[in-house]
């Protein structure tokens, strides 16, 4: 009998079926990996198992007993614990480690006896020992490293006598050494008969730690493999399913002159160095999975974070220590978090559109409001922004139209280089096509485009050259004609990134 048995699990959000009759099981002492591209249904499955969502239909059995969860605490009571990816959401930062480790004693205690700190410390120590970790108990949790925080969560999960522990991309923030430590603990937990579900994109780790893997695609569990009995190419092909045809890409002629270059840029948040060039009129895509360090790199290039390195615009070295330096050097940035950092939702369309180039509307300091209004009307027309008037507040516009404003505001500014970070996030297909047209149009005018995204099919459609980023570093580079989703995925998952012969074979077979 399996420890966990899931049969015909179904879940839909409104009209969208996110899980379609999924079968899945975990044996005692087994690590079962869960793979799939963004939106394949992995997190929905895991959230149902941990009680975050309720299932629509299907059966979940633990040790043969059917269970039904309506809240996370019910799942915990049945022995399912999760080590979340966002470790900070599970911990209270301003409490010492000892209190976070024994939070159940504070919250779940039925009597109001005074807390015995001696006992607390002893329990906390025991719990840490079970995961082979030592963290100073009086240290504030906010001062812990990510790996330490993860271990606190794991220690808590083990202490709750969980039979099944879910790991959501646990190694993404860890160093090699910390990853090794985590794997030792996982091996230890295996011997205790605990079953584990392991979500990851990293093929090498999965083959190292997991017994079996289930590949999900479009809400279905499409294949179950035993590790060691399948090649990573086959797994990636299964993840991607049918290859996307690339008919949409039109080969564009690029002058070949470099318009923008960064040389050994140290990105503070990833601790890695990045070098890249963009030609005039070239659309350079940077592909990477969520958490690969794309946004961090984009922010560093634009001077948002304090990065060190060399920038060259049109061959001239420029120093970029803040976004205003970047703007003056002729860079434009369309950030991922649109409402947070791309546009002013409490201001009007007109005020948003004129902001970066406000100087050109106010040569002597006085804003020429008529000119500003005319220019806004023209841009609304050209970009197809749907709004009742240029004076409408931006918060009343749809996401796609807000994104057009977020891009459009840079068009008045004399920019050479446009940096896009996930520009199609949260916008509908119509707006997406408008955004693509706009980007191609900018490139046709000789601008350089840097396009960061985790949606690989978008790059196959629009990018002239594609760089792949994994763990903050560029692991592969190819012209659009050489690119396949399989090759992108292989490089992005840290698969055999340097064996070019392998790629050629994949490219040859992966093409429609």
């Amino acid at each position: 009998m399996s420890l966990l048995q899931v049969q015909q699990l179904t879940k839909s959000f409104g009209p969208v079926d996110v899980l379609k009759q999924v079968d899945f099981s975990v044996e005692p002492g087994e690590v079962h990996a869960l793979l799939g591209v963004n939106g394949a249904g992995k997190s929905t499955l895991v959230k149902i198992l941990s009680g975050d969502y309720e299932k629509d239909s299907g059966i979940i059995q633990i040790n043969g007993e059917e269970v039904h969860f309506t809240s996370p605490s019910e799942a915990q009571a049945k022995g399912i614990a999760i080590v979340v990816q966002e470790v900070d959401t599970g911990l209270i930062p301003n409490l010492p480690v000892v209190e976070n480790l024994t939070l159940d004693l504070t919250v779940g205690g039925k009597n109001s006896r005074p807390i015995s700190w001696k006992k607390r410390r002893r329990i906390a120590k025991e719990r840490l020992a079970k995961v082979n970790t030592h963290i100073p108990l009086n240290q504030l949790t906010e001062d812990c490293t990510l790996s330490q925080k993860q271990m606190i969560l794991l220690a808590r999960a083990v202490a709750s006598e969980a039979k099944i522990i879910i790991f959501d991309e646990p190694t993404a923030p860890l160093s090699d050494h910390e990853t090794k430590q985590l794997f030792q603990v996982i091996e230890e937990l295996k011997t205790q008969g605990i079953g584990m579900i392991y979500i990851s994109h990293r093929m090498q780790e999965i083959s190292q730690i997991a017994e079996r893997m289930t590949v999900m695609r479009d809400g279905k569990a499409v294949a179950v493999y035993e590790t060691g009995k399948v090649s990573s190419e086959e797994v990636i092909q299964t993840m991607l399913g049918k290859q996307l045809h690339k008919a949409d890409y039109h080969h564009r002629k690029i002058s070949g002159e470099t318009i923008f270059e960064i040389d050994h840029l140290s990105v503070p948040e990833t601790g890695k160095q990045v070098s890249l060039t963009v030609g005039a009129g070239e659309i350079v895509g940077v592909a990477g999975l969520v958490g690969a360090g794309k946004s961090e790199t984009a922010n560093a290039i634009f001077g948002v974070t304090n990065a060190k390195g060399k920038w060259f615009v049109n061959g001239h070295s420029v120093s970029i220590k803040s976004p205003s330096h970047a703007v003056n050097a002729g860079l434009s940035f369309i950030p991922e978090e649109r409402r947070k950092s791309g546009v002013m939702i409490e201001s009007s369309v007109q005020e948003n559109l004129s902001l970066p180039a406000l100087k050109s509307f106010s040569p002597a300091g006085w804003i020429n409001r008529r000119k500003e209004h005319q220019s806004a009307l023209q841009q609304i027309e050209e970009l197809g922004i749907v709004t009742s008037s240029p004076k409408a507040l931006l918060k009343h516009l749809s996401g796609g139209n807000q994104q057009k404003v977020s891009i459009g505001k840079w068009l008045n500014h004399d920019s050479n280089v446009f940096i896009f970070d996930e520009p199609t996030k949260g916008i509908d297909i119509g707006a997406k096509n408008d955004v693509f047209r706009l980007i191609t149009h900018l490139a046709d005018q000789g601008k350089g485009i840097l396009y960061f995204t985790s949606e690989f099919d978008e790059l196959l459609q629009i990018a002239d050259r594609i760089l792949v980023m994994a763990d903050g570093e560029i692991t592969d580079e190819m012209q659009n004609q050489e690119a396949t989703e399989a090759r992108l995925m292989t490089a992005a998952t840290g698969g055999n990134a340097v064996e070019t012969a392998e790629y050629k074979r994949l490219s040859a077979t992966g093409r429609p």
Partner: protein, 340 residues
């Protein structure tokens, strides 16, 4: 018309919506109108020229403080130190006149420079060290209060006063040219009223029609988005605190000229009135954000209330209750539908 048609419902909903919108936009002005009508009906002295100029003169100082507060609010900050800055400027101009017999120009410039310095200190604490604005400027408020009390040893300053250290009487007096700022009249209009109206108009033009004014608003609207659009947001936040300090110092000068003494702690009550005026201003014309015309209206409402209530013999200590009530009402108009 007994029967309701189905088509009546959307119109009713529309009407309700329009009424709500009307109150959001004009509720505060309506309240101002009602207050004026009420006081003029209950007291025949209320609507006389003399009383109106009295009200305007009394609010001129609060308005100056409130404009400074408005600037700090526009960039998304807060300045609690304005009251103590007013006190310091009042004492400084008094000390320069009475203890040091200085000329008019010096008596004007030194307090203004002090105000600007306090603004820089606030900016350093809030923008550079990143102490939250409410706490940081609260600390500065204490420091400035202490500084001006220490400087005067707790004594108020008046013409030819005995020196605090016992070394005879002070050489100077409050010269007439200085007193004109607070007590003089041009075309039979009190000078501080003219000063207030001109400054309100200039600040309004500045905030709404110049690039710098727009960038102040953008900085407060969304600091991160403004920064990513190339706006040097920290510079504008610094400017805002400096402007706030300068306006508080200007208010202190007018206050000293008005009462003819350098009164210690004279600015204390102005902090809350200034903040209240700026906050009431959010609701005027449904602006939903700090704006100088709204601040002016807020100061007028507070001034009229104080004047009218005093005429009705409501004790001053009870007036705060009504001030607070008006503030809650105005904020309700602003925030009631913001959640959506």
């Amino acid at each position: 018309m007994k029967q309701l048609n189905i088509s009546d419902y959307p119109q009713q909903a529309d009407l309700k919506e329009r009424i709500v919108n009307f109150f959001m936009k004009f509720g505060t002005l309506l309240a101002l109108g009602l207050i004026i009508v009420f006081f003029s009906l209950t007291n025949e002295q209320f609507l006389t020229y003399g009383n109106i100029t009295d009200i305007l003169r009394s609010i001129s100082i609060v308005t100056l403080v409130a404009i400074g507060v408005t600037f700090s609010m526009i960039v998304g900050g807060f300045d609690l130190s304005v009251g103590s800055t007013v006190s310091l400027a009042t004492v400084a101009s008094g000390a320069l006149l009475v203890w040091h017999s200085q000329e008019l120009l010096v008596v004007l410039i030194v307090p203004l420079v002090l105000g600007a310095l306090i603004g820089l200190i606030n900016a350093f604490i809030v923008v550079k060290i990143r102490i939250p604005d409410l706490i940081g400027t609260l600390a500065v408020m204490y420091i400035i209060n202490g500084v001006h009390l220490t400087y005067t040893k707790g004594y108020s300053i008046y013409g030819n006063m005995p020196m605090p250290d016992g070394s005879g009487t002070a050489p100077g007096i409050f010269i007439p040219a200085f007193q004109f700022i607070g007590q003089g009249r041009l075309f039979n209009i009190p000078f501080p009223v003219i000063l207030m109206v001109v400054i309100v108009a200039l600040v309004h033009l500045f905030l709404n029609y110049t690039r710098a004014g727009r960038l102040f608003y953008m900085t407060g609207g969304n600091k991160e988005a403004a920064r990513l659009s190339g706006v040097p947001v920290n510079r504008y936040r610094t400017y805002a605190y400096v402007i706030s300090g300068v306006f508080a110092a200007l208010a202190g000068i007018v206050l000293a000229a008005r009462i003819g003494t350098g009164q210690v702690s004279a600015g204390d009550p102005l902090l809350m009135d200034g903040v209240a005026a700026a906050l009431i201003g959010y609701s005027v014309f449904g602006a939903g954000k700090p704006n100088v015309i709204g601040t002016f209206v807020g100061a007028i409402i507070i001034g009229i209330l104080l004047n009218g209530l005093t005429m009705m013999n409501v004790p001053y200590y009870a007036q705060d209750i009504i001030k607070g009530g008006i503030l809650v009402g105005a904020l309700a108009l602003t925030y009631f539908r913001k959640k959506e």
